[in-house]
């Protein structure tokens, strides 16, 4: 082999080059083999169902007339369907109230806990986080008992003052009752994310700030918050996606507040009832895809607008 290597004719060098890329290719083949279990599951549980659902959304199936190919007609219908659009506006309204509320609670709690070092702060941190460890369905069930005009503490407290308890499950109050559940559940989780980001800041920066004469509040607002902006962007993205896909809490509450929460309360619930209660699987797929597209556009826009803060340039 060495003798041949001394005088390289074009033919050999070509062969060597190919054998080199052959080596790379062989290595790549190994890589594919190792990721194949993941790819298989990824394809089986995500790509194929998505493709199947998209294909379904291109057909229209009615109870009386059977199934036919209708192209994008279901999508035209979805974006002119008042129930879908109302649901969309409703989750946007939830987002407008819920995301800032959760974020403010999470930031304030994280900033306060960050400055304290006593054992009480550790216990408090845990207590704020605990609701996140409660399964969503259980949490919603628990709150629905608390809101209950009969079993709930509200009735007892208002009774003691001779007042009538407000109906927390009425059509006007259900909005804030649901905001309360979600905030209770998720603020702790966001707090932990933000808190972890705060802990990773080099403390010498605070020292420098103190020497420059910054007080606690100024340090928090001018130094800590800007330095954790990438975590904040992530938290808001999570909250945004979660809110647009609002589903579990209203579904659980629906069983005790049927009038206030209808079958199309959120777009996700609408898709669910279309598919499973009214057996309109095709239109439900179209609704689900439309929601997916809007969630994607929403999160993409948000990440684009905050690309400076998140460092995702």
């Amino acid at each position: 082999m060495t003798t041949q290597a001394t005088e390289l004719d074009p033919e050999t060098s070509r062969r060597l080059a190919t054998s080199g890329s052959l080596l790379v290719r062989r290595r790549q083949r190994w890589g594919w083999l190792f990721v194949s279990p993941f790819l298989l599951i990824f394809a089986l549980f995500l790509i194929i169902p998505l493709g199947y659902a998209f294909r379904m959304s291109l057909f229209t199936s009615t109870l009386a007339a059977g199934t036919e190919f209708t192209g994008l007609a279901n999508y035209t219908r979805a974006f002119t369907d008042p129930l879908f659009l109302e649901g969309m506006l409703r989750v946007l309204a939830y987002g407008a109230v819920m995301i800032p509320t959760q974020l403010i609670i999470a930031i304030v709690a994280a900033l306060v806990l960050d400055t304290l070092t006593s054992w009480a702060s550790k216990v408090t941190r845990l207590l704020i986080f605990v609701p996140y460890a409660v399964p969503v369905v259980i949490g919603a069930l628990m709150w629905s008992f608390l809101y209950s005009p009969r079993f709930g503490p509200g009735a007892t407290i208002f009774d003691a003052f001779g007042l009538e308890a407000p109906n927390l499950l009425g059509p006007d109050t259900i909005f804030f009752s649901l905001v309360n559940i979600v905030t209770w559940q998720w603020a702790g989780y966001y707090m932990v994310v933000i808190y972890a980001a705060l802990r990773s800041i080099d403390p010498s920066i605070y020292e420098a700030a103190r020497i420059d004469g910054a007080n606690g509040l100024q340090t928090a607002l001018r130094i800590k918050i800007p330095m954790i902006s990438s975590s904040m962007v992530m938290v808001v993205t999570f909250a945004l996606i979660g809110t647009l896909q609002f589903f579990t809490e209203p579904v659980v509450m629906q069983s005790i507040a049927q009038g206030s929460i209808d079958a199309a309360y959120t777009p996700n619930m609408y898709a669910f009832s279309l598919a499973f209660s009214y057996s309109q699987f095709n239109y439900a797929s179209a609704i689900a895809f439309s929601l997916g597209i809007l969630v994607f556009i929403g999160s993409f826009l948000f990440l684009f607008l905050t690309r400076k803060q998140s460092g995702l340039k």
Binding site: F34, L40, A257, Q258, D262, A275, Y278
Partner: protein, 444 residues
């Protein structure tokens, strides 16, 4: 080199194993019976049902059949089960062989070609074992889509102790019902006379039907055509009556089937529970009952006491699905599982079901049964047998679930004071007509 080969083997083994695991998930449909199979070699028929004490009925069937065995699963109650069934129909697999369905949803599934016409499997021969009303609910022309099991003739369950305390006689007409409600309020009773749930669904529908409302004209033999008239005068009158009661605060308008509602049923908040024949069983299953409660049953109040009209709320059937492998054996199960006295003894005594099977329905045993819960009252003899006898059947729409959801929404708007009864029913009519047209039906 050797280690390399073994790595390849390991990696491909992982890939194959996970693939095999996934494939196994798809096939593990069988052998998930809640009950024990007594005769392993016999044909197995899978059954979904949610009757109370049904395990005993299944065991009885399996003990008495050598060639067919029932494999029972409780796939949820009402809508929970229908959701699973509906998904299985769409998927083309996963449905049981025999399924418990309420009579009101039968046409919703026949229109999707999900149920077997049992006429060819000897089921029409047992028509004589059921009342005409019950049979008309499961059949259409020559086709029979299910075997009736239990019924829900309606009556009035009331708290004797509460009515006595305020000196009120159990109302026999709806006029008396209103007077009773007014008296109860005038005397400052802590509770109300009754509840009018906006999510009563079949309950609300039954009250309309009592005045002669026929919301749907539909026949499975001509599935593309439907007549809708949910806003007829009868429905309007009944709803107007209830709106008056709700607006005057004489009855409650609480959601039904919630924890709050269940408590109020048994703690004396409602003096009267307008119920179906399965209502006593439902009441007895609730906890925190008032220990001093004295429950009695009486016929449902009437619009015209001279010409009483009987209505039905709920009631269920066994149907055979198109996905059943052995349709002959499945039809046999549907026919025979509740087709004998022993099974019905369990059904009546343990599950508080109201039989539609006439050998039991018309038996002295059933008529003379004394119910301890009702202070030894023979409630079948005094109330429910008459109610069942007068029932002539009812036509539901092939999109009943949607129709009920819309009804609930409109009734809620009404009790909130946003609309009156007439407007609520007119809006319901419009939304159902639109929906039917969207779904490709021709309106009659």
């Amino acid at each position: 080199m050797k280690s390399r080969t073994s790595r390849v083997v390991a990696a491909s083994a992982i890939a194959t194993l996970s693939a095999a695991g996934l494939a196994a998930c798809g096939e593990s449909q069988e052998a998930s019976c809640t009950n024990e199979i007594i005769n392993e070699d016999a044909t197995q028929v899978s059954v979904w049902a949610w009757y109370p004490a049904f395990d005993q009925v299944v065991d009885h069937f399996n003990e008495t059949h050598d060639d067919v065995q029932v494999c029972w699963t409780n796939a949820g109650q009402g809508n929970d089960e229908y959701t699973k069934f509906s998904t299985a129909i769409e998927a083309g697999s996963g449905a049981p062989d025999v399924i418990m369905l309420e009579a009101e949803v039968l046409s919703s599934f026949t229109i999707r070609d999900a149920l077997v016409d049992l006429g060819g499997y000897g089921v029409d021969e047992i028509a004589g074992n059921y009342t005409e009303g019950a049979w008309s609910d499961v059949s259409s022309g020559d086709s029979v889509y299910a075997v009736p099991v239990d019924g829900g003739p309606m009556g009035m369950l009331y708290r004797q102790d509460i009515l006595d305390e305020y000196g009120i006689a159990p109302p026999a007409t709806w006029d008396e019902f209103r007077t009773a409600a007014e008296e109860l309020e005038a005397q400052g009773a802590p509770g109300v006379l009754a509840n009018f749930p906006t999510n009563g669904r079949a309950f609300n529908q039954a009250l309309f039907a009592q005045a002669g409302s026929e919301p749907f004209v539909y026949d499975s033999s001509n599935p593309q055509e439907i007549g809708i008239e949910v806003n007829d005068d009868a429905a309007g009158d009944v709803l107007g009556y209830w709106q008056g009661l709700v607006d005057d605060g004489l009855v409650a308008a609480d959601d039904a089937f919630t924890a709050d509602y269940n408590t109020k049923l048994v703690d004396g908040t409602y003096a009267i529970y307008l119920a179906a024949a399965w209502g006593p069983g439902y009441l007895q299953g609730l906890s925190d009952t008032d220990p001093d409660a004295e429950w009695r049953a009486a016929p449902l109040p009437q619009w015209d006491a001279e010409n009483p009209v009987q209505v039905n709320w709920g009631g269920s059937t066994f149907a055979v699905t198109e996905q059943a492998e052995d349709k002959e054996a499945s039809a046999l199960v549907a026919k025979e599982i509740f087709g004998n006295e022993e099974a019905w003894k369990i059904g009546v005594e343990e599950a508080a079901l109201f039989p539609l099977w006439t050998p039991m329905l018309e038996s002295d045993y059933f008529r003379d049964l004394e119910y301890e819960f009702f202070g030894g009252q023979k409630i079948n003899d005094e109330v429910f047998l008459d109610a069942a006898q007068g029932y002539e059947g009812f036509t539901f729409s092939p999109f009943q679930n949607y129709a009920y959801d819309q009804l609930t929404e409109e009734l809620f708007e009404m009790t909130e004071g946003n609309k009156d009864a007439e407007a609520a029913l007119d809006d319901l009519q419009t939304s159902l007509e639109t929906y039917a047209a969207e779904q490709g039906f021709t309106l009659k």
